[in-house]
Structures are given as structure tokens and as C-alpha cells.
Subunit: 674 residues, 3 copies
């Protein structure tokens, strides 16, 4: 199974006509036409509607909704409706709700509120998916199935405790193996019966919060268990759908979302999709990283942008508007990174509850003459003109960046050396450097095939397991470069320290050992001098300062201050035909970029416009080999560059020639078919 088959980039989004009287539906249809909206996601929270009582299923309203959308010629992404359970279910089966990290059993409320281990939830959610799929599988307008909604969170109930113990039995076989993995000799923790094991929570191993645990091994396994328990929920529903439908099945991911290891989920989805709600003020590279991570889930296959707001969010303390052009720019950025659909949450604004002020294509007054509607309609027209040009196109990256949930978890729950190091920030700094340089990047799992890459960047690869160290060494062996950083190669699959010099199994490739490491408050800066001679370049380093002892590596940069002034901080090791780069501290962005560009230059991988901040370039190659060059101006100034390819801008029809100027206004976009 793969992506839904469509003739163009689907455009539309979440739509809840069940919240409205039917006259509104007709008004919506007229507005959808105006905006070229051809796709609707239906029924994401319809459980209470479609199963109003334990033994009653009622699809009459959903029938009318689906029929109408189909009649209007719209594609339907149809949800199973299990994103929230109904009130009657919580009352009849209180165990269907979750027990939180503080040990409190919740009662009915909010959404994403079901215990993933609850037998009744598992049975009824699958049954609902079975009935929805059975009813609408033959409707050709239904191009995709949408299971649940933004899976996430965690539960600490007795069902989950039992599930965890069973999961542990399967993982470890014996208590002896489990005790070894969890290092339970420490603090008198030896388990002598499976039933002694408790979920790690505020009432057991944790203090202050989910990242402060007495036993990293236990918490690491509970995160794995939770991620897999929810995957089981997804798989329950998918299997039920498959009984009657072969249409592609997805669920909407959330980009860099820590609780769920999307890499372990990916094989079970037919295609990836995600909801793009970036944090306020993030750099465009943050969005690029998220898109590339999502594209990497299915081996580079395009994904769907399942949700984005046309204008503003509601759930934050402060919810700014997207200024004119930004919604369009970010939509095209998604396409540039591999999106084969552009969808919004939501098409019509809810009247009540906590998302009533969330942006919508159609606001409470139902007008077409708003700025937001106008921009949506313009984008709809552009995507109509694009046709199928980008569908199925792939990104020809020669650089891989490793993104690893295990390392993320292990690093951020570690006691020592520094809680100030955040996995995403380290990863983003290296991605930003690549983005600035205009390089296409595959963001992939540690289990991915690395044989095709010239450069593999592995920031903060705290946990190293399996044959990863060997595969990284092979990259260098055959002439490639591998770059890793401070706090990499520290722990094994169980979160236990390697009994070896730091960076553990990466040490031979890196040609260094780290003797000790300092950690300092956020405001402490140690200057690092990079390069030598005329190329010397001083940058700032912060947070963690590893004292690197070269074991064959050459010194690229050294600390300039504190009692370890002169100690190496950045090194390069010749290994086989290639290199291992080690960066032993959190360099500032200028420092990270300097190092990354050294490596890129070595491999001739710098993009066409590496010195224009804010100008993003990506390439996609269509199944027929056609090359699409995307240029996006995220800056606030007009940019003028010299074309490096000849082709046609698919948005304007204008031709470009090599050597001729290209001009992009702020928020400007070009899609040059070369």
C-alpha cells in the first residue's frame, strides 16, 4: 500500500458539518468551490454520533455528509472517529479513561482520553473502525482512512501495568535479564516477581516530572511500551478496516513529538501524514526538519500535510496571525519537502468549546471577503494549476541526519551532566546549518540504510545500539563523512553506560576519547577557536564541555577559556577513505555551520545559494525523472539570485535560463520545472 491515488495535490481539510444545520452545508459548498477545495477530512470525533449507546450504531447523519461530499466531487479522508470516546462509555466502563502520571484516574472529559490497554476500548474502537470501513469502503470518493487522531500521551493504570509486565516478559524472558538491563542492584531494586514492577510515575520512580527518574532503564522501557501500546490501537483499527477496504490508511502525526516513536510506527502506516503547528517564532528550518523527518518515515515516500491553520491557533497563551503570504509560503514549503496534499484544520470554525477561536477557512460570519479566505482561495487556484507535476516526486538527498527517539528519551531523562541540553535543539542546530547551505537532507532512523549517503550527521546520538556503530564506520570506510557530537555514544540499548572510553562504540571512528566533561549554567560561554592560520574562527560554546583527548584524530578546534583552555573541543579523524568528525560541545550556530560547511565542501554538497539567509531551495524528482527546483523566500527582503537551471516556473509559467536573474519577493515562491 502506498499513497492515495489523486490527480492533483488534494486541498481542503477537516470538516465537521455534523456541528451545523444543513443550510450551512450548502453555503459551505459554495465557498469550497470558490476556494478550489476538493478534499474533506470527515468524522474525526464522531464516535458519540455514530455509536450513541453501547449497542446502537447510527450512521444516518454521516451517510448524508459523506454522500453530499461525494456528490459534490470532493475526495474524502474518512476518519474512524476514535479520537475521543463518548461519555456513555466512560460512565459504563470507568477503566476506559486514563490514569495520569500523578496516579489520578481521570473521568470523562477532553479528547485522546482512552487508556490504550483498556480491553473495552480496544474492542469497541476496532468495532467502530470495522463498521465505518464496512459502510463506506465502496464509496470511490473515500481515498484514505484516518485512524484516531494525534495519538499521544500516556496512561499509568493497572491495565497498563499488566500490559507493561507482559511486554517486559516478551522483551527480557527472565527477571535476571530484566534486572541486569535495569541495573537493579542499585538502590535495592532487584525484582523477584514480575508483579512487583510498577509503571514509573510520580508515585514510584519519578520526582519533579516525567524526565526525572531514579531508573532510566525502567522509564525508557515504559516509553517504548506506551508508544507500542498506542501502535497496537492503531493496528487494531487498521486490521478492522482491512476487512473491507484496501484504501490507504494513515493517522496524523505531529512532527517532532517525543512520546511516540514514529520510526517504529511507520511500517504500519500506508502513508505518513502530519499536522504542522510549529512553535511561535521558530525558524523555517524547524519546519523543514519536521517535514523531512515525516518524509523519512516511509523511506522518502511523499506524505500528506494533514493539518495546518490557515491563520492562527487557539491553544497557546498568545496566538498570533500568520501574516499575508505566510500560509501560502508554508504550504509550498510542505510541497517542496515532499507533501502530496495540503489540508487545513479547519474548514469551518466551531462555535463553541476550546477551538472556537482557532483559525478556519470559513469564519463565524461565513464570509468569503476575508483576507484569510482570499489567501486560501488563491492557493487553491495555484495548486489546481500545478496539477500532478509534483505527485510522487522524491528528494535526491546525499546527506542523512539521524533522528532517534531512543536517544531523545535517554538524553533528556538522564541525571547529569546537564538538563539544559535539549535533543531537538542540538539536532536543529545541525539541520539549520544544512538548511542554510541549501542542501537536501533525509532525516532518517538509526536503522535506515546509510549506504547511499556522502554525509551522515548524528547529533546527540546518546544511545547506540545494534550494528549502528559498524554501519557508521562503513560510511567513513568508503569515503563518506560521519559527524557526531557531545553526549553521543554514551549508553547502550538499556540506557546503561558503556564500560569503555567515551564515545563508546563510536570511539574508533572518531579517534578520540573524552576524559571528562564539564557542565555549566546557560549563560557561561567558553570561546572555541576553530581552524588554523588565516582561517581561524572563534565561536562560542555552551552547556557541556567535553575534554577531548585525541587518539589519532586531528584537532580542529580548542577551548579558549577556563582551566581546560587549549583542550581540544572539535576533531576530525581519518578513517578508511573518509572521516569521523567529533564536536565535543554545544557550539553556537556559527560554529556548527562552520563545521558542517567544512564537511559539505569536502563532498561538494553546498547548495546553489548558500549565502542567502532565508532563501530555501529544495529539489524533488518526479517519477518520470522531471526535476522540480523549489525556491522559497522566508526573509523579509526581496531576494535576487542567478538561475542555475533552465526551466519553467510552474506558478507563473515564466521561463528561466541559466545565468538569468530570479527575483523573489518576501514570502515569494517559485517551482521551476527544469
Amino acid at each position: 500500500m502506498s499513497l492515495p491515488v489523486t490527480a492533483k495535490v488534494p486541498f481542503g481539510g477537516d470538516y465537521n458539518p455534523e456541528q451545523w444545520p444543513e443550510p450551512v452545508w450548502a453555503a459551505d459548498d459554495r465557498l469550497f468551490e470558490l476556494a478550489s477545495i476538493d478534499t474533506v477530512t470527515l468524522g474525526v470525533f464522531d464516535w458519540a454520533l455514530t455509536q450513541p449507546a453501547p449497542d446502537v450504531y447510527d450512521f444516518s447523519l454521516l451517510d448524508r455528509i459523506v454522500d453530499r461530499a461525494a456528490r459534490q466531487g470532493r475526495m474524502i479522508c474518512l476518519a474512524t472517529g476514535t479520537g475521543a470516546h463518548p461519555a456513555w462509555l466512560a460512565r459504563a466502563h470507568p477503566e476506559v479513561t486514563r490514569v495520569d502520571f500523578e496516579g489520578r484516574r481521570h473521568r470523562f472529559g477532553q479528547r485522546h482520553n482512552s487508556c490504550p490497554s483498556s480491553p473495552v476500548f480496544r474492542r469497541l474502537s476496532a468495532e467502530l473502525a470495522r463498521r465505518v470501513a464496512g459502510r463506506y469502503a465502496d464509496n470511490p470518493a473515500v481515498v484514505a482512512w484516518h485512524v484516531g487522531n494525534e495519538f499521544g500521551g500516556a496512561c499509568y493504570c493497572d491495565h497498563c501495568a499488566a500490559g507493561f509486565r507482559q511486554w517486559l516478559r516478551e522483551r527480557y524472558g527472565t527477571l535476571a535479564a530484566l534486572n541486569a538491563a535495569w541495573y537493579t542492584t542499585f538502590w535495592s531494586h532487584t525484582f523477584t516477581d514480575w508483579d512487583e514492577i510498577e509503571p514509573p510515575s510520580a508515585l514510584t520512580e519519578h520526582w519533579r516530572g516525567p524526565d526525572h527518574t531514579a531508573f532510566q532503564g525502567i522509564t525508557l522501557d515504559y516509553r517504548r511500551f506506551t508508544s507500542e501500546a498506542m501502535l497496537t490501537n492503531f493496528r487494531d483499527e487498521k486490521a478492522a478496516i482491512r476487512e473491507s477496504s484496501d484504501a490507504p490508511v494513515t493517522t496524523n502525526f505531529m512532527g517532532m513529538y517525543r512520546p511516540i516513536d514514529y520510526h517504529r510506527w511507520a511500517e504500519h502506516l500506508d502513508f505518513a501524514s502530519w499536522d504542522n503547528y510549529p512553535p511561535e517564532g521558530c525558524s523555517p528550518a524547524w519546519l523543514g526538519l519536521s517535514h523531512d523527518l515525516m518524509r523519512g518515515l516511509k523511506g522518502g515516500q511523499p506524505f500528506w500535510l494533514m493539518e495546518q491553520t490557515p491563520s492562527m491557533t487557539a491553544c497557546r497563551d498568545v496566538n498570533p496571525l500568520k501574516p499575508p503570504g505566510v500560509m501560502r509560503l508554508w504550504s509550498w514549503q510542505a510541497v517542496a519537502h515532499g507533501a502530496d496534499a495540503v489540508l487545513f484544520f479547519q474548514l469551518r470554525a466551531a462555535r463553541g468549546a476550546c477551538e472556537k477561536y482557532h483559525g478556519a477557512v470559513i469564519g463565524h460570519a461565513g464570509r468569503a471577503d476575508t483576507r484569510v479566505f482570499r489567501e486560501v482561495a488563491e492557493l487553491g487556484a495555484e495548486l489546481r494549476r500545478l496539477g500532478d507535476a509534483s505527485l510522487g516526486a522524491r528528494t535526491p538527498a546525499r546527506v542523512a541526519l539521524l533522528f532517534d527517539w531512543d536517544s531523545w528519551w535517554a538524553l533528556e531523562m538522564s541525571d547529569g551532566p546537564s538538563r539544559l541540553v535539549r535533543y531537538q535543539q542540538v539536532v536543529l542546530a545541525y539541520y539549520q546549518a544544512l538548511w542554510d547551505a541549501g542542501v537536501d537532507v533525509d532525516v532518517v532512523a538509526v536503522t535506515a540504510d546509510l549506504t547511499g549517503y556522502d554525509l551522515v550527521v548524528a547529533p546527540a546520538l546518546h544511545l547506540v545500539a545494534g550494528d549502528l556503530a559498524d554501519r557508521l564506520a562503513q560510511v567513513a570506510q568508503r569515503g563518506g563523512s560521519v559527524l557526531t557530537t557531545f553526549l553521543s555514544g554514551r549508553v547502550d540499548v538499556d540506557g546503561n553506560a558503556f564500560l569503555a572510553d567515551v564515545p563508546g562504540p563510536l570511539a574508533p571512528l572518531m579517534g578520540v576519547r573524552v576524559d571528562e566533561w564539564d557542565a555549566r549554567a546557560a549563560e557561561v560561554v567558553n570561546p572555541v577557536c576553530l581552524g588554523s592560520g588565516a582561517d581561524r574562527f572563534e565561536v562560542a560554546s555552551r552547556l557541556v564541555f567535553e575534554l577531548v583527548v585525541p587518539q589519532g584524530a586531528e584537532v580542529v578546534g580548542s577551548y579558549r577559556a577556563d582551566w581546560y583552555a587549549g583542550t581540544p573541543a572539535v576533531t576530525r579523524n581519518s578513517y578508511g577513505a573518509g572521516h569521523g568528525w567529533y564536536v565535543g560541545t554545544a557550539l553556537d550556530q556559527a560554529g556548527v555551520s562552520w563545521v558542517v560547511r567544512q564537511v559539505l565542501a569536502h563532498h561538494g554538497l553546498l547548495g546553489p545559494y548558500p549565502d542567502l539567509p532565508g532563501l530555501e531551495t529544495t529539489v524533488r524528482v518526479a517519477p518520470d525523472g522531471t526535476r522540480l527546483l523549489f525556491l522559497l523566500n522566508h526573509g523579509t527582503e526581496t531576494v535576487e539570485v542567478t538561475a542555475t537551471v533552465a526551466g519553467v516556473d510552474l506558478l507563473t509559467g515564466a521561463r528561466t535560463e541559466v545565468g538569468r536573474p530570479l527575483r523573489l519577493d518576501p514570502a515569494g515562491v517559485m517551482v521551476i520545472r527544469g
Copy 2:
């Protein structure tokens, strides 16, 4: 029923001789005489004393206390004593304690600790009130009854859940109506049985705290229910008192206290009273607003200042002293705004527990030669000289400011656009502008009669219900002005967005529609240019920036920055013989004052000294028509102004003549009978 009948402003406060051996009582009496203290509030926390066991009532000590006070000629405000329940009650009936927002059943401790829905609490508190009133009703020294103490907080127990469901049945009649009001189609929330409904708490609809709810409608109703459940407690006791006494009944309110909708309580009190503990560093206008809100509860009838500290609080992280003169100044300010009593907490300092460092008229050493005692005694003498001059006097305001608990709740629990907007701050900015201009203001409920006002100011009127929009329109129709602001006219009585242009039902009066609205971090400023030509005036705006599209209104001010520079921010609409003013952003105080003074000037309402910051003027008109002009200098500099009325300063006996200079030292007060 109305205010207690007194011959002068009662002066004294909370007094707990039950905490002391009788010799101390005699010492107190001597000190009370020195300080002209003629009123004592007795028994506020006497439940454990007067009912030491389930079937035992023992009034012997209270008898002696009441008798002694009466013999000494003091007026008594006698409490029912139910501000905290006894330990034996919590042990015998654990359900009498509250379940908190986190779902935790409390055990015996603190005060204000009774579940308002507990049947045993309701029965026993009313019975105690019945017995107290029955015992002391005939004592002529008892001039008022004081029920409970500072009603507040909330409970989330099963009794309250049942009470909430019953309240909802009465409000909505059918689940269909409730589901519509709460917009439960959203997130699969349709209720199919009343018993599925849970109190909205950290275990159900909330996250982060009481203002973050998935369903605004549910939480809004739970706030209403809670406020009414406690009102029922008050009414239980009042009814029990009425069985034997016709003396006026009150309870001590807390000014702008969010959990209790005092407007809905007001009709059930015979007179309003409140405890004035302003936040550290607040402006004098904050106090004025609070007083005016309290005066507005009973249609302008004077209120009692039931508590204030003579010197310092104890419950805050930092508890500064009131500098010399400030206690007096604030006492007179209370009178200036309608107080017909000036009382303290507390007359003698407790030795132990959490209020032992709270300021008191008599400290632990029992001295009369302290600064605090001296200032109290001087004030006592002044009030004695004042006699009955101010009793029953009314404030002749032509400006009304709407204060609305529903809007307060709805605005601050809203997801989007900005959690940084605080209802009190918006209201205070407009009140401050009026206060600076020296205008008497009635702070009233949205249900108040508005026909007598020239100007109605409705800041942040988020929720608009009933015929309010019509009544506001009528104000303008007949030549008055109505001023409202950003985030007004957004939701209906259920908290659901109006399906119309913003500001909903206020749009015709305002002659605008708001197309969209930006929200930004606290430090982001957008300059707004007000006025035109030589009168142009640039001020700052913050937090929320509504993009106003005039629909007939004239533009008074526009944004100067960001992508919506030039867009209208402030407008004035001609409507009937009057105007609707719309302020689409949080202007700084200079901006708010500029707008407010435009309107005041139009109606000729500027006070006599509008340009002297810190000088407060108010007017009260005695029942016989005598006009009292209060002048209070809150500034740190001496102020000299020209008298605008002839009369006598009741504090000094000095005569003033029109055109003659008046001089007020810092913290100076004049009460000119004109």
C-alpha cells in the same frame, strides 16, 4: 431591609475575646475607649465554641462577650460563626470537607472548608444561625448579622456533582438543550444521560488549571453553579435568622473576587459589606473601582467596610506597613465612595496561627503608645466628629461602568486569542481614566438600569446576553455614549461565538466589523495614532490587535506598524443622537485616557481637577440633599487647588469659598459640606 441604623459611622472591627482570658477584656475596653471604637464584629469563627459536640450547644462564653460589649455601649455585628466547621464535624461526616480541583478529598483543616452542597453542612450551619439569632435577636446592641465569612473557593465532590446535574436540569430542561448550549458535537461530547456529566476539573475537562478547559460552556456553568450553591448556604442561614430577627443581614465580600458573582448575590443581602485588602502597589483607582463595585451591588445604597488592616497583612510573601496617614486616607476614601462603616481586622492581634503577624489595633504587647494605635484613635475621633453627616448619602454618577462576572469568566477561560488579556486590567484602565478625570462612576451589572447615564463604558464585554445590546443601543439613541473594546461582543450566554461579524450584537451600535485579530507577546508594541491634525497623539497598543473595518463609523485611531499599519484601531459611530465608540486594542493608559476624555468632554463630565494626578474627588449627596465633596490626596506631594464650591471642611471646621485656594498635604483629606 436596608443598612443597620446607626447614629454615626460605626468604627471598630473583628474582635475575638474568646481567645483571651477575661482580664485582657478589661484592658481592651479601656483601649477601645481611647480609640473611639464603638463597634465590634463578634464570633466569626465560633462554631467549635458554640457547638462543641453534635448535640451540644454552649453559648455561655459568647453570652458573656456579647453582654459585656453591649454593656460597654458598643454596637455588635454578630456572626453566625460558620466560616469554618469544627473538627468533630469533619470527623463525624468526612463528606462535609471539600474535594479540590485536583480531585482530592480534603480532611479537617484551614477555614472556608465546607462543601456547599453537603446536606449535613447545610443543616447544621442553618441550625447554628437559627440558634445564634434566636438567642441574641432581642439584644439591641446587635445591629447586624454577619453570615459565614468571605464565601469563596469551590468543591468538586459527588454531592456537588449531583447538585450541578440538578441545576443543569433546571437550567436546560432537556439534554438536547444542554448539548446545544455546550456545543458537545465537538470532540464527541454528546451527553446521553444526566449522570454522565462530571464537574469540570483537573480530572475531566481541564489542564494546567481552572482557566484551561476543553469546554468553556461546561466550566462557565460550573462557575455559575458554584456561586449559586454558596449563595444557597448564605440564604439557608439568612432564612434561619429571619425566624427570630429582622435586623439587617450581610456577609463580607471581597471586592473584585472572581469565583463569586456578587451581582447575583446582591438581592439576597440586606446591605453589602466588604474586606479591603488591595494588592500591594495598586493604584488608588483600584480601590475606588472596588468600592464603586460594592456600592453598585445594592443600587447605590451605602455599604460597610467590614475589614481592612490597620497596618499590614500577614498572608503575602511580603507584607509592607501602611505608611503614616495611609490607613486614614484609605478609610476616608471608603467613606467617599459610599462606606457607612469603617471596621478593621482585627482589634487585638492573635497570638498564634497564621494571622498572628497580621496588623491589629492592639498588638501583642497591649500598648496604646504605638504609631498604629495612635492613628486609629485619631481616625476614631474624626469619625466621631463627622457624626451622621455622611450616613445614607448617595453618589450622583452620570457615568456607568459595566462589570460582568460572566464576561470575566468567559474571557479568561477562553482558548485564544490571548491569555495575557486580563479582565480586571482592561476594566481598571478605563476606570483609571475616569478616576483621573475626577468623575463619579457607578460600577454596575449588565442588568442594571442604564437609562440615567450619559456614558456607559463596557470594557471587554466578552459575553453579551439578554437585551443588553438593545439597552446599550438605547443609551446612544437618546444622545448618550457607549464605549466598548476589543474582545467584546464575542460570545452568547453559553459562551458560544456569535454567528455574525464581530462585535456580534454590538456591531450595529459600533458601526464596525472586525475582520480578524492578531495577538502578540507582552513586549510587542504597535503604536496607534489617535485623533487628527494638530491633535494627533501617538500611544502604544499591546496584546490584541483587532483589524477593524468601519461599517459607517469614523476612524479615530489607526495602527502604525506591522503588516496592518494604517488599519483602524479606534472608531466612533454616530448612532441615533449619540455615539458608539470602539477601541480595538489594549491601548496604554495614555491612550485609554485620551479616548475617555473625548467622550467625557462631549458630555461635559470632566471633574473639577482633572489634571492633578493623585488627587481624588468624589461627591456624596445626603438624604437631605446636602452635598459632600471629598478631596483625597493620594500623591506624595502637597496639592493646592482652587475651591469650586463654598462650604465647610467637616474634618477641621474650616470654611472654603469658591475661588479660594485649598491645600492638601500628602495623604490629606477634606470633606466639604457645600
Copy 3:
């Protein structure tokens, strides 16, 4: 019973070979030899190892560990192993875990996890101690017993509630006495049955946290009860040990640790020991104060430094390295203040769980060529050279500083005047002044014999009980000086205010009364002018400003600002042949030092180098009368001073002569036997 008998300062620390395969033990032994490590603390968390099931004790592995250490000639500090209970115990007896301040019963996890009142915990922990002692008492390598680990925390379960009530019956005898002590007339709190009494927690008397209580008396008593309940645990185990062993028994304290009143524990320990993990960035005086407090526990008897990290901690947000020389410097500082052992946590780094990144003598790679190992080995060699020179030596202090847990508790749980005043900061400011002046100080309990001191400093002595005021007066009577500060002399043993002028029973000695006191935000400074004439010196004061009215005392300093400018802030009262000094506000360090040096100069107590910041000097006098002068340079600059004694530097063998220069590099240490 007294200190363990050793021939030199024991050197080594916590060692957990049960976490490792035996080949590692041999490697450790070789490294221990290299580092002169002669002492190991074994079995601190061995409960699950030595009692793997309810009725099974298995000492086979511990036998091998103890035997090997003994064979290698190492001294053993042998733990009972009860620092954490085993998982099987928590499952079999859920009541063995604690109920936290929030009322939540915990399940198995972490450490220090046993309810101190749990009968099964008390029975089994004592039984384990009995068996451990019985088995190893005859092994001459075992020089000391180590009970539990870092006793602390609190429990709020029903067993503790029952224990609390029993403790209260014994303390008060009658409910009438208890009600009087707790001032329960306030807020209707009169208890009529012992079973009505609840532990003061978030569910009863507290809000915001453990320091915010409605009833200071209740919380004060619960702290006392908790401290004593854990002492009972210690005593249970000690008594069980005594059945077979006379070797000294200790437990590792934590310096200034608020929950446990070490003064009340001290008589039950044979010798004091403690774990030195100072807060990041603290001054060296903070460490000195902690050492002196620990030395004061047993009347000046030397103590053991039971734990310190050789390099870094793990449990903090940021865990910096100790720079070169600092571990050695702080080790010598411990000895300088009375330590007769220098031990580390830990000898070999754990692989897993939350202390895997905690510093260790031997790291994960097992190397001897690390900086940390090298510094440890050098210190080991130095201590070997020192031999028995310092063993049993005493500090000849003529200054006592009172440290009082009751005052600490009472002050910080007080409502009003200021939560910003922290007991430790006030104490530290006065200790710092003494430290800067180079004075040896005994830090003692309020019950200590004060007759031997010239100066008694009693900062923030909030609670004054027993005959303390008399004993302080006697110090002055015979010519000594007593110095106390703001917020002293406020409450009695129950936390109730004295019915007298402030500072209560200290008023006659101080010759002042405090009329009132202001409190202000942290950033508010009131300058205080100290001294007179040419010696006038202006310093800053903050937080609390007591308005001091001299009653015979002379004014030493006065406020310069605010409405109380000119009011006395610092006074000196002649009393008998001596003086009472009163400091009514939180002077800055310069101000505190100015005052302290006035007093020191009066008594001729200034140290030899009072004007060299960072240079610490202490004296110890060996049992044979030999005098050891310790000089430690905590500064970052080399210091050169003139020797005031002749002698030999025991670290280098170099001789010093009076008047000859002494030179200390940064982190330099001298131990001059004079």
C-alpha cells in the same frame, strides 16, 4: 562510645562490588592501592541482596565482599542496608511505602522510601541490622556501622497520623493543653478528641507547600514528630547492632538539612558523619559553617566526612566539574574543621540508573590515567603522610554561633512579615563575617553550654524557649557579647507570639523594643548608616526593617530612607559587664561584617589574616596539646602572608618561622604543626 579507632585519617568511600562481576574487584583493588584507599563503605543499599524474600537471608555475596576487603587490609564502614526497602516488601506490605504531602500513597520506587511509623518496616529493618551486625561484628576490619542512609523526607500516612497523636498525648497530656499550645480558638479549630487530629498536609492545613500552614503550632509539632520518628528508626537499628557489637554507630547526615533536627539526634550517634554536596557557587564559608555545625553535634568531637564527590554530581540541572585542586582543597578544609575521615561517593561509577554520571574515583573505562584518579591518589598519599597528627584534635573556639532547627522551622513557616527571609541566609551572613575575620567558631545548639564563650551570635533566633534567654543574659553579665538580629525573640516553644514587646525575653538584654516592622520586595534597599564621626559607614539593608525603640541601648546605626529615616536599626546595650547587640534588619554582607568586627575587636578575637578574602585559617589542637594551624587558599590568586607561628608544614615538611613569608597558590593548603 566515640569515634572509630584508626591509625590515620581513613580514606576511601562508598563501594558497591555487588554491582560488578568479580574480575572487576581485582582491578579495583589494584587501583585502590595506587590511590592509598584504605577504607570502604559497604552495603548501603543491600537489603534486596541480603534479604531476597520475606523469610530468606542470604549473606553469601556480602561475605565475599567483606572478606576480600578485610584481606586487602581495608577498614570497613559496614551499612545495615536499609536505605531503601526491597520490591517484594512493598508488594507484600503496601503500607511500608510513604504517603506524600499531597496525600498520595506511593508504590515501590526510588530510595528512602519507607514510612518511619510502619510496624513492618520497623521490625524488618531492625532484624536486618541485627543479622548484619551479628554476622560481621567479630571482623576486626569493621570499624564502624552505618545505619540507613541520609534519613529525611516525611510521611503522612495513617500509621504516622496515629504515631503523631500518640506523640502529642505524651507531649501535652491533655487536649486542653494541646488546644492552648496550638491556639485552636482561632478558626474554630478546638480539638475535642485526639482522633480528630490530622497530619498537616496539602489536604488539611497547608496551601502552596510545606511552609504555608494555617497553624504553625501543628506543623511545628509534625516536624518535631517526623524528626523523632526517623530517629526511632535509627535507634531501632542501633539497639539491634548493640546486641552483638560495641563498634561505633553512625548515619550520614547532610549538613544544614532542614527536615531533621540533628541536634536532637546527636546524643544517639556514637559519632557524627556527613555528606558534603554544597550548592553550586556557594562560598567556602558555607562549607565551613556546615562542617562546624556537624562538629558541634557531639560537643566538638571530630566527625567523619562520609561522602563527597571526587568530581561532579549528577542530580542537579547542571553538574559542573570540580576544577583541579578543589577536591583536595575541600578535603583539607573538612579536616581543618574537624573531619577525622575523608571519604567519597563513590569509588567505582555505577553503569546504570540515576547516578551513573555521578563522579567516581574509578570511571566507566576503569582508567588510572584520568585527572580525577590522579588527584585522588595524590590526596591519598598526602593523608598517608599526615598519619595520626590530626586525629582527635579539637577546635579551640571562643565564639559560638547558635543554630536552631526550631527557629528555622518557625521562621520559614511563618505567615508574615516576609517569606523572603531565609534562615540559612541570615545565619550564613554572620558566619561569613566570622569566617572572613579568621575566627574559629563553634556552631552549637541553643541548649549548648555557653559559659566558655566570649561571643555568642544568635541570628534570626525566632523561637526562644526554656532558659535560653537567661543563659544568654549570663554571657553578657560576665563580660561577653551576645548578638542577635531582626525576627528574633518572637515566639515561644509552641510558635505563639510572646505577649510582650519584641524581642520578647531577649528585650532586657538588648535594651530595645521593636515597635513595628516593615517588609519590602527584594529589590528595595534602605541605606543604614553605621557608626559615627569619621567611622561612619553606609551599608544597604533589605527585606525586613524593624523600627527599633531604644530602651537603654545606644544607637549604632539608623535607617536613611523611607518614612522611618533616622529610626535606629542597629543598637548596642550595656548589660552587666558585657553587651547585647541588636541588628534590626538584613544588612548586606559589608554591614554584617562591620558589626561583627566591632564585637570581635572588643574581645581581641580577630584572626591573623582578617583582610585577605578567600584565605581560610583554622586551628585544631591534638589530644597531646599540639596545635595545628590550617591555611587554605580558596581564592583564585596566590596569597603571601607573614607567618605568625613557627612550625612545620606537615604536607611538605617545610619549616616556618614567625615573621617569615608564607605563600599559598590558588587552592593551596598548609597544615602547620606549631
